[in-house]
């Protein structure tokens, strides 16, 4: 059976890289081997006040994993999912104390919206009062209702699957942050609370007051169910100084007395970056799916594990193909799908990209199926997009990684390549790094 033009269109939508996997798309979620959501869920039994950081490559599925964790926990816990990028205008400016404050606000909103439980006015008042002394000399005026409405909860989908987290959340932010826009969704969100607090030191009385206020609210939520806070978005911060300010040089993110899980940037996988953060967080590294035997000597990996990795990625593709009523054998005429899986390096977003390009090329050629040649064209297209930004320094670093299995840690190039997905982490219990396989041909060994 040939794939029709209409079906190619459906497939293109199913593999649209700009469509984030929401909880409402639970049918599309594929649990990867060694998934961390279950590990955290299990650890929570023993560490009720634990603090976790889920770090991994951009596009590796951290947000999806966090949403999945919310889904696992929602029956036993009061899941408070704080979607920071949709709450503040400039997440790169956010201060640790502001994250703490927004956790309290998210708890108030979640209690009201998800469990119809009103947090006491006294507790809310205490939270806002605690923030005031931290505002420094800015002219920022606290507008409680605006801030309450402005917080975006991704866990809203847990309670109401299919509600459309993004629209709902941004709409709330719009109402709160964009009063001046008269009902329009403000695509440039002026943040009411974003980089406006003064620098604070651990143990400072004003900070302690804020911590107490947040804890009081979480305690009130606990009368419904044990709260757990999931904070998504800190992984989007690119500047090392900002990352360190949040996770290493301050302990503020670990202050709430209830459990919190953050998504964090991949640089926290580097030993040097993790050193200081390790004393306050547990690190969950969301590595990429292993799809091929590693080149590095000393890395043992069973065929079963590699096969399991490939199978999980095949499922990712198959579930999306099914949206158009198709299966893998119908769409892929030969081993094109294997090429895509292997070349993706197990990075989910790149797998989606590759299939997306494959579908587009097949459509343009009016092909009845994806052939190996079409898949190769797609790989070539994506490879060029990586290579266009390569230079000698980057190639040198990739060669080092290929040889040593870890970034050199020299200068900014290691974090730069990690953040950009040029270097991918893998795990078999031990973490190792490899250059993205799409670049491997151009990377010599040192």
């Amino acid at each position: 059976m040939a794939v029709t033009l209409e079906q190619w269109k459906q497939l293109y939508a199913a593999f649209n890289p700009s469509q984030r996997l929401e909880l409402s798309d639970a049918d599309l979620f594929v649990e990867r081997p060694g998934a961390i959501a279950h590990e955290i869920a299990a650890d929570l039994q023993l560490e009720t006040a634990g603090k976790w950081v889920v770090c991994g490559s951009m596009g590796s599925g951290k947000s999806s994993e966090l949403a999945h964790l919310g889904g696992i926990l929602q029956h036993d816990y009061a899941v408070i999912g704080l979607d920071l990028p949709n709450t503040v205008a400039s997440i790169d400016r956010i201060q640790p104390a502001e994250v703490l404050f927004l956790i309290g606000i998210a708890a108030v909103r979640a209690a009201a919206d998800l469990w119809s439980h009103k947090i006491s006015d006294a507790a809310i008042q205490q939270l806002f009062s605690a923030l005031k002394p931290l505002l420094g000399e800015t002219n920022f005026e606290l507008q409680p209702s605006e801030i309450l409405q402005g917080v975006a909860l991704f866990a809203a989908n847990v309670a109401a699957p299919g509600a459309g987290a993004v629209t709902g959340a941004v709409g709330a932010a719009a109402r709160a942050l964009g009063g001046a826009v008269k009902g329009r969704m403000p695509l440039r969100r002026p943040s009411p609370l974003n980089g406006v607090t003064r620098p604070v030191h651990d143990g400072e009385p004003d900070l302690v007051h804020l911590q107490e206020a947040v804890d009081r609210i979480l305690d009130e939520v606990a009368t419904v169910r044990t709260p757990i806070v999931l904070v998504d978005g800190l992984d989007k911060i690119q500047e090392l100084t900002s990352i360190r300010r949040l996770f290493s040089t301050s302990r503020i993110l670990s202050l709430p007395k209830r459990a919190v899980v953050y998504t964090g940037p991949i640089t926290l996988m580097l030993g040097t970056e993790w050193q200081a953060a390790g004393s306050q967080f547990q690190r969950q590294r969301l590595t990429n799916v292993v799809t091929r035997r590693p080149e590095l000597p000393g890395i043992t990996l069973t065929d079963v594990k590699i096969a399991a990795g490939r199978t999980s990625l095949q499922q990712v593709i198959a579930k999306r193909l099914a949206l158009a009523g198709l299966d893998t054998a119908t769409v892929f005429a030969d081993d094109g799908v294997d090429l895509l899986i292997e070349t993706s390096g197990g990075l989910l977003r790149d797998l989606i990209h590759l299939v997306n390009r494959t579908v587009r090329i097949a459509f343009a050629q009016k092909a009845p199926h994806v052939t190996r040649a079409i898949a190769e064209d797609a790989v070539s297209e994506l490879r060029k997009e990586y290579e266009i930004t390569m230079n000698g320094r980057r190639r040198e670093e990739l060669a080092y990684v290929r040889e040593h299995g870890e970034p050199s840690g020299k200068g900014d190039v290691s974090p730069e390549l990690l953040l950009g997905g040029y270097i991918l982490p893998y795990s078999n219990g031990r973490i190792w790094f490899e250059p993205h396989p799409i670049l491997r041909e151009g990377v010599a060994r040192t």
Binding site: W8, K9, Y12, A13, N16, P17, S18, Q19, R20, M58, G59, P85, N86, A89, S90, I91, D92, V166, T167, V170, V181, R184, M185, P186, L187, R188, R189, K236, Q238, R349, H353, N356, R357, V359, R360, I361, F363, A364, E381, K384, E385, I388, T389, E416, L419, G420, G421
Partner: protein
């Protein structure tokens, strides 16, 4: 202008994405710095029947995308072409890029397709500062000049402006001989026998001027270039050219239907419309003003053609630049074959104010009726409606009547003109000096 509708193959992936996507999709196009108009032109030429293409310039329209992402005719899917990062300072560009990344999620709910133009040199920075947005791309199209072949006159003119445009350039850009020939042939400006560098300078000026004027008059309205009309005037700074020539000889060869004047360069440059600067036999710099020369028939055998052929033969002459900085404007009160300096002198001798000069100044600086109304509003404020005579006169006549009636032509008046047209302060000072007998302060 006759447009072709075939999309260059290099832009094919964009057309494929647009054909397939039924919701938000992002395409990124990178290429040589100033080719964004060329890309946009080709997209509109070939896709405008199926899609509604609109532009959003980050440097001008900012980061509020709501209107542009949500608007539309409801029939054709909207495609938003975003550019402008390349026109920002480094610090602003970096900040805006970070903001774009953080605004990403608010784009997705809208069905508009977005095509983002990035200069090739900005791609790495963009990928670093906006990694999430970059990951959303459905395709990345890296372009080179060769990927945008020129097939229509508009494409050619846009290319000429992109290539030769940019008032901030210093020094002539290298031009290869074939391109020079194309410009020369295309616009019948016959300049042979000059040195290569001289010819570059001349042709760059001529090509840019002609292309800009044509585009403003006939090109698509939403090209970046058309909003840069002010750049044309920057060419005033181009060195006028001493052309060693017998002015009398030249004057005898000028076609009879050409308005021309020979005046001293000092007097002429501030008023220069179109013309050639010469060195006369006495080694004095003179400016031959040739109004309307671009409207002359320059075909071989015609008076205009003969003139250019004759100029072409003056190979011993050193032409440094061709002064053609203003769009051609009809000159009110301009007397053929009467030097402007004489006109000024005769005005002074009679004791009457040099109305001719002033009328010409107003005409040059406020050529369109809307410009005249702008000036009137500036001068008379809210009263303008009451002051306007009811007779069916054109705007310019009404303005002149008002000025006469209210005796407003004083130093303050010229200062107001300078406030409205600061780029022409020198010209206004010149006329003020002649009109008032002292420079405008």
């Amino acid at each position: 202008m006759n447009e072709g509708a075939r999309l260059p193959p290099a832009l094919g992936p964009i057309a494929e994405v647009l054909a397939l996507a039924d919701s938000f999709a992002l395409c990124i196009v990178t290429g040589p710095r100033d080719r964004r108009d060329s890309v946009y032109l080709r997209l509109t030429s070939s896709l405008s029947e199926e899609f509604e293409l609109v532009r959003h310039r980050l440097d001008r329209d900012g980061l509020d995308f709501f209107d542009v992402l949500t608007g539309g005719d409801g029939i054709h899917p909207r495609v938003v072409f975003i550019s402008g990062l390349e026109r920002m300072s480094d610090a602003t560009r970096r900040d805006v890029t970070v903001r774009l990344n953080l605004l990403r999620d608010s784009w997705a709910p809208h069905p508009a397709r977005v095509i983002l133009w990035l200069p090739a040199w900005g791609l790495r920075e963009f990928r670093k500062l906006a990694p999430d947005l970059f990951h959303w791309r459905s395709c990345l199209v890296p372009l080179h000049d060769a990927d945008l072949p020129i097939g229509t006159e508009t494409e050619y003119l846009v290319w000429a402006c992109e290539r030769y445009g940019g008032a901030r350039e210093s020094g002539p850009a290298p031009v290869d001989a074939i391109e020079i020939r194309r410009i020369a042939d295309g616009h019948r400006t016959i300049y042979t026998g000059f040195s290569f560098m001289e010819r570059n300078q001349v042709l760059r000026t001529v090509a840019r001027y002609l292309a800009m004027v044509r585009l403003q008059a006939e090109g698509p309205a939403d090209l970046d270039l058309t909003s840069r009309a002010g750049d044309v005037y920057q060419l005033e700074a181009s060195p006028p050219l001493p052309l060693l020539l017998d002015a009398a000889d030249l004057a005898g060869r000028l076609p009879p239907d050409l308005d021309w004047n020979i005046i001293t360069r000092a007097a002429g440059i501030p008023l220069s419309a179109q013309g050639i600067t010469l060195l006369d036999r006495a080694n004095q710099e003179v400016l031959v003003l040739l109004e309307g020369i671009d409207r002359l028939d320059l075909s071989p055998g015609t008076p205009g053609g003969n003139l250019w052929e004759w100029l072409d033969r003056q190979r011993h002459l050193r032409v440094v630049a061709f002064v053609a900085t203003y769009p051609p404007l009809p000159l009110l009160g301009w007397t053929r074959r009467r030097p402007l300096s004489e006109e000024i002198e005769s005005s002074r001798a009679s004791g009457a104010p040099p109305d001719v000069l002033l009328r010409r100044l107003l005409h040059d600086l406020f050529p369109r009726p809307s410009d005249v109304f702008l000036l009137m509003e500036h001068l008379f404020g809210a009263e303008v409606a009451q002051l306007l005579p009811a007779e069916p006169l054109d705007a310019r006549t009404k303005l002149e009547g008002l000025l006469r009636r209210r005796a407003l032509i004083d130093a303050g008046f010229f200062e107001q003109l300078k406030a409205l047209r600061p780029a022409h302060s020198k010209l206004i000072d010149f006329v003020a000096r002649e009109y008032l007998g002292a420079p405008a302060r």
